[in-house]
C-alpha cells in the first residue's frame, strides 16, 4: 500500500496580481518504507510538494493521502494534531529554538501528547541517543556544530515516532563530512525503523542514497 498518494495536484501561488503555477497536475505514489529524493531546479515545486504532503499547505485541486488519510478532510486543529503524530520535518537550517537545550528542543513535539514529564524526557533522551548526541543533552544550539544541530532536528522529527519524514535539503547547509553523517542517519532510520522518507535535495550525491530519485520540472515529474 502506498504511504503517500498524490493525485493530479495543482498549486498556484499568487504574488500581487500575478499567478505563479507551481505544481501542475502532479501524480505520485510513495510506498511505505520508501526513501525518495526529489530533485529539480529552484522553483520547480519540490518544497511545495513537501509542504503539501506534510499538511502545512493546501492543494488548489487534486488530492493527497498520507497513510490512508485524505488531507483534504483535515483542517485547523485536527490537521495540526495529525501532523504532530504522523509527520516529522527536517529543515535545511535545522530551525531549532535557540533558547532551548538539545533535549528541550526534542521534547517540543511531545508537549502536545498526554505524557508525564519524566516519560517525555526519557523519550527525548532516547531520540538523542539514537542520533548519537546522548552526551549533548544540555547543550544549546549555539554550542553545537551544524551537523550536530541537524541531528538534534532529526531527533526532534522522530521523537513522536511518525511514519513519514520530510526533509528539505537536510545537508544543504553542511560540509561533506557532516552531510554524509546526516545521510547515514536518514538511511538508518529508513532501513531499521522503516520510516518513509521524502527528501528534497540539489545534491546528486545525497540523492543517490535514496531508493528512488524523482525529478521535478515546472511543476511536473520529468522522469
Amino acid at each position: 500500500m502506498a504511504s503517500v498518494t498524490v493525485r493530479d495536484v495543482r498549486k498556484v501561488y499568487h504574488r500581487d496580481s500575478q499567478a505563479i503555477p507551481v505544481l501542475d497536475g502532479l501524480t505520485l505514489d510513495i510506498a511505505d518504507g520508501d526513501f525518495v529524493a526529489l530533485m529539480g531546479p529552484s522553483g520547480s515545486g519540490k518544497t511545495t510538494l513537501l509542504n503539501l504532503i506534510g499538511g502545512i499547505d493546501t492543494v488548489d485541486s487534486g488530492s493527497i493521502t498520507v497513510g490512508g488519510q485524505d488531507l483534504a478532510q483535515l483542517s485547523g486543529r485536527t490537521l495540526a494534531r495529525w501532523r504532530s503524530r504522523h509527520i516529522g520535518f527536517i529543515f535545511q537550517l535545522y530551525n531549532l529554538i535557540p533558547v532551548l537545550t538539545a533535549i528541550e528542543n526534542v521534547e517540543l513535539p511531545l508537549l502536545l501528547v498526554r505524557m508525564s514529564p519524566k516519560e517525555r524526557r526519557e523519550r527525548a533522551r532516547l531520540a538523542l541517543d539514537l542520533v548519537g548526541l546522548g552526551d549533548r543533552l544540555r547543550h544549546y544550539p549555539r554550542q553545537l556544530s551544524g551537523g550536530q544541530e541537524q541531528r538534534v532536528a532529526i531527533a526532534r522529527a522522530v521523537v513522536s515516532d511518525p511514519a513519514v519524514l520530510l526533509a528539505d535539503e537536510p545537508t544543504g547547509d553542511l560540509d561533506r563530512k557532516s552531510g554524509g553523517e546526516i545521510l547515514d542517519l536518514l538511511e538508518r532510520l529508513n532501513d531499521e525503523f522503516k520510516k518513509t522518507i521524502v527528501m528534497v535535495t540539489h545534491d546528486p550525491h545525497a540523492a543517490e542514497r535514496a531508493h528512488r530519485i524523482l525529478h521535478l520540472e515546472k511543476g511536473v515529474l520529468s522522469n
Binding site: 509542504n51 502545512i56 486543529r77 495540526a80 501532523r83 535545511q92 528541550e104
Partner: protein, 398 residues
C-alpha cells in the same frame, strides 16, 4: 519542560528588554495605586466621621467662631445627649517649623467621653493629687486633669517626636501668638487608623484664659446624639434656633463635615484618578509594543512550532501567556509595593489626613489592570502568531 516553562524561557530571551518592561509596568502600577491611595485616604477621612455625632459650626465659615452661650441651648435640644466643643489652635513647632502637626483645644470633660469609642489611652502619667476626673472620663486622665497645661498626644506623633511622658513641649501660636508650653500627660491610640494619631489635644480652658482673654469663642460644637436616626431632625432644629442670630450655624453629621473638607479639594481627586489611568495607558502602549517586537522577532519559531503540530489556539495562548505573566507579575509587584511603601511611610499631610492608605480594593484594581494590560498587549501579537501562514513564515526564515 512544559508549555509554561516555554513561556518563561521566551520571557528570558532578552533579559534587559524583559526587565525594562517589567520595571515600567511596576512603576506604572505603583503610581496608579499610589494615586488611588490618595483617594482611598480621602475616603477613609470621611469614613472615620461618625454618623452618631453632629458638628455645629458658624454658617459663614469654620474660621468664624461661635459664642460660648450656645452650648446650654444646644444641650437642651431634644435628642442631644452630650455637647462638646473645640478650637483649632494652629501652632508651629519652634524647633522644627516644617514638621507640622495638628493641635486642638478641647473641652476635655466632654470630649474624651464622646470619643471614648474611637481612642484608647495607652500611656498616662500618674496624678500628683487625689486623681479625681469628671464623670464619664477615663481615670487614666487624672494627671491631665490636674494640670491646666497638660496635653494628650497621639501615639504616632509621640513616637515620631521621641517625646516622653511629663515632657514639656512648647508650641508657637500663630492664631494665638506666643509660646505655649504643654506637658504631655497621656498618649492615645486610634482604634481605626484613619482616625489619626498625630494630634495634640489640650484643655480648651487653657486656650480661653491665655489666648482669648476669657471671651470663650468656640470653633465648633460636637453634639452626641441619643439616637443617630434623628441626626437630620436635630441638625435642622439646631440651625433653626440660630437662623436669625449674628452667628448662624450650620449643623451636619461628623461624616458630612469631614466630607466637606474633602470637597474642598475640588476636582483634584478626579485629576489624580485621571493621571493614574493616563500613566497606565502610556505603559500599556509600551508593553504592547514590546510584545509586538518580541513576537515579530520569533515569527520563524512560531512557524516551526506550528509545523511540529502546535495548533493555532496553543500558539495564541503561548503568546498571550507571555504578556500575562509579564504584566501580572509586574502588576502584583507594583501594587503591593505601593501598599507596603505608602502605608509604611505613615504620611498624613501633617495630620490633615489620616495616614496614607492603599486599600485592598485598589491593590485588586491594580492587579486587574495588570491582567487587562497583559491581555491587551498580548492579544494582537497572539492573534498574529496564531494566524501565521507556516509556508510564508518559513520562507522568510530561509
Amino acid at each position: 519542560m512544559s508549555l509554561f516553562s516555554l513561556v518563561l524561557v521566551n520571557l528570558g530571551r532578552n533579559k534587559l528588554r524583559t526587565a525594562l518592561t517589567v520595571l515600567s509596568v511596576v512603576v506604572a502600577l505603583f503610581l496608579f495605586c499610589s494615586l488611588r491611595g490618595v483617594l482611598d485616604t480621602l475616603a477613609a477621612s470621611i469614613r472615620v466621621g461618625s454618623e452618631a455625632r453632629l458638628v455645629t459650626r458658624n454658617a459663614i465659615s469654620l474660621i468664624f467662631p461661635l459664642p460660648p452661650a450656645y452650648r446650654e441651648r444646644l444641650a437642651a435640644q431634644p435628642g442631644v445627649k452630650t455637647v462638646s466643643w473645640g478650637n483649632w489652635f494652629g501652632g508651629r513647632d519652634p524647633v522644627d517649623p516644617g514638621d507640622f502637626y495638628a493641635q486642638f483645644a478641647v473641652d476635655a470633660a466632654t470630649y474624651f467621653p464622646v470619643y471614648a469609642s474611637d481612642i484608647d489611652l495607652i500611656l498616662a502619667a500618674r496624678p500628683q493629687g487625689p486623681g479625681v476626673v469628671p464623670a464619664g472620663v477615663d481615670p487614666k486622665l487624672a494627671a491631665f486633669f490636674e494640670d491646666r497645661t497638660g496635653c494628650v498626644v497621639g501615639e504616632k506623633l509621640f513616637r515620631r517626636k521621641k517625646w516622653r511622658l511629663g515632657q514639656t513641649v512648647t508650641v508657637s501660636g500663630t492664631i494665638f501668638p506666643g509660646p505655649w508650653p504643654f506637658v504631655i500627660r497621656a498618649v492615645y491610640r486610634a482604634k481605626d487608623p484613619a482616625f489619626g494619631e498625630e494630634a495634640l489635644l489640650f484643655h480648651w480652658k487653657y486656650l480661653e484664659e491665655k489666648g482669648m482673654g476669657g471671651s470663650g469663642a468656640v470653633g465648633w460644637y460636637v453634639l452626641e446624639l441619643s439616637d443617630p436616626g434623628q441626626a437630620g431632625s436635630v441638625s435642622r432644629a439646631v440651625d433653626a434656633l440660630y437662623e436669625n442670630s449674628a452667628a448662624a450655624t450650620r449643623t451636619e453629621t461628623e461624616r458630612a463635615f469631614q466630607a466637606g473638607f474633602v470637597s474642598m479639594y475640588g476636582n483634584v481627586p478626579f485629576l489624580v484618578g485621571l493621571i493614574g489611568f493616563a500613566v497606565v495607558f502610556a505603559i500599556l502602549l509600551v508593553a504592547a509594543n514590546t510584545m509586538m517586537m518580541a513576537t515579530r522577532e520569533r515569527t520563524g519559531e512560531y512557524a516551526v512550532l506550528k509545523t511540529l503540530g502546535f495548533d493555532d489556539r496553543t500558539v495564541f495562548l503561548l503568546v498571550l501567556a507571555e504578556g500575562a505573566v509579564l504584566t501580572l507579575g509586574a502588576g502584583l509587584a507594583g501594587s503591593l509595593l505601593a501598599k507596603l511603601v505608602l502605608e509604611g511611610s505613615g504620611f498624613n499631610a501633617g495630620g490633615f489626613l489620616p495616614p496614607m492608605t492603599v486599600s485592598w480594593t485598589t491593590v485588586a484594581a491594580g492587579i486587574g489592570i495588570a491582567v487587562f494590560m497583559g491581555a491587551v498587549s498580548g492579544v494582537f501579537p497572539a492573534v498574529r502568531a496564531s494566524r501565521l501562514n507556516i509556508v510564508e513564515a518559513l520562507r522568510r526564515v530561509d
